[in-house]
Symmetry: C2
Subunit: 281 residues, 2 copies
């Protein structure tokens, strides 16, 4: 119950509860420290020909947008296609193998526009960004974000959606989509990836018209083993829940897992807090 940035009195128990998915306790009260809302927000939607260009553009965004870069998303062609086909939405630009959504948040609109303009000009001069549009108008920003946010529901409309939330190192961020395309592309409706590139968090998706046990077996545990081999994390933002505890060993050492079990037993000796989640006993 403190919102101090610095409090070094004993162990940082707060962080033990964050991400424990209710298995160590129940939140009854919370203190939240809020940053002020940014005066100026802009969003660019750009098209690119290769993942190499996506990486280069991310690198340049960090360099030239620096302190105002607030979001950097990647969407592949198949993902965006699903929203166009299944949700009747219109892409703001032509069709490209990859898209990026780059958002800036700052305190001075004129400065932010100048930085964004310089960055986009450079990205186009270098041939990384082929086409694009950007806006600072709140309603248009919302409209553009909708395209990104509706991808998962759009994919679900294909019939059955197998979806994975993983972290991967930047260099191999998109490799797993290509690996899965090769492995299960012949029996899938779509194999695609989109996600929070800036956070190294990929949402990998495979759709079929209906649930198929054969597809499920081709996907799991392969997806998680492949993520582990690429030195990624099998759960980026959505937690282990009920379905993934068996794959914890692919991202954490046996010593770390043993310590997690010890802590669970210590805090919840009767195993009554959100049972069967995170750790399988």
């Amino acid at each position: 119950m403190s919102d101090f940035k610095k409090d070094n009195t004993g162990y940082h128990l707060k962080h033990l509860f964050i991400g424990s998915e209710g298995t160590l306790g129940v939140v009854t009260k919370v203190a939240i420290l809020c940053p002020p809302r940014s005066e100026s927000v802009h969003l660019a939607f750009v098209g690119l020909n290769s993942f190499e260009s996506v990486l280069q553009t991310f690198k340049n965004a960090k360099r030239y947008l620096g302190e105002i870069l607030s979001s950097c998303e990647m969407i592949d062609q198949v993902s965006l296609q699903a929203t166009v086909e299944n949700m009747n939405l219109k892409s703001p630009i032509d069709t490209y193998p990859f898209y990026m959504m780059i958002e800036t948040s700052g305190s001075n609109a004129e400065h932010d526009m100048e930085k964004l303009n310089n960055f986009l000009q450079l990205a186009m001069d270098k041939g990384d960004v082929i086409d694009g549009t950007f806006t600072g108008e709140p309603s248009k920003i919302q409209e553009m974000w909708k395209l990104r946010e509706i991808i998962a529901p759009a994919l679900a409309k294909d019939g059955h959606l197998y979806t994975y939330d993983i972290s991967l190192p930047l260099r191999s961020f998109y490799d797993i989509v290509k690996v899965m395309e090769q492995r299960v592309g012949h029996m899938a409706k779509r194999v695609c990836g989109f996600g929070h590139l800036g956070d190294l968090n990929l949402h990998l998706n495979i759709t079929t018209e209906a649930y198929s046990k054969e597809m499920y077996k081709a996907l799991e545990p392969f997806v998680f083993e492949c993520t582990s081999q690429l030195k990624g994390s099998v759960s980026a933002e959505h937690g282990m829940g009920f379905l993934k505890p068996q794959y914890l060993k692919l991202s954490k050492s046996s010593e770390a897992i043993e310590m997690m079990h010890d802590i669970k037993r210590l805090v919840d000796p009767n195993g009554i807090l959100n049972p069967y989640k995170v750790l399988r006993s």
Copy 2:
């Protein structure tokens, strides 16, 4: 050993070790994620007449410097006086009751200068900032920071230094210095405060010509009890170490302390890891 921004595989054990001051384990290997160095850094040194003006200036710095504000320090007159008297350093401006050092880090020097100029102009127009100087030249920035960094050694030159590292809510950030001035001012050489205002972290200092048991008894546990009453933390950035475990109860609930002891026993059943620190058994 992962530098992912997002990894939700099990409990966040890393944070249990951070700040545990060696009582839960020994670091043998570490993965560090570095942000790029800022292209442009500026530092302003300003003089103010009251703590009310310091608060107002901090608020405006957050608003007008926003994403480029990288440091916001407060120094009181007595603290700076110690560096001038004991270290033969020169203040860059005249004498005022309070000083602030406001640093910006950004990707575009022209934009940063404009923001800093606008902010300083506003602070002077409002009468919060009376006098000031700012620079973007690395050697001059270093020189100015030296004035801040040398305060503690300068105070130690008075003879004996009693120093406290605490976090306090913004509204009562400086109150404790005035309380201590009233309480022990008559038997002290100096009573002063400086610190990381942006982090709510105050360094409270009392100096005497030589160590005095009477002064020590007047200071402790009073300083920690007073911090606790102001809803502060008795240890902001320097940890509990050997001297403060007895005051842990002033900042943490008995339930939290009990859980810390349980975790310590779990991880280090023989009590061999940095004994007598953080938790007193």
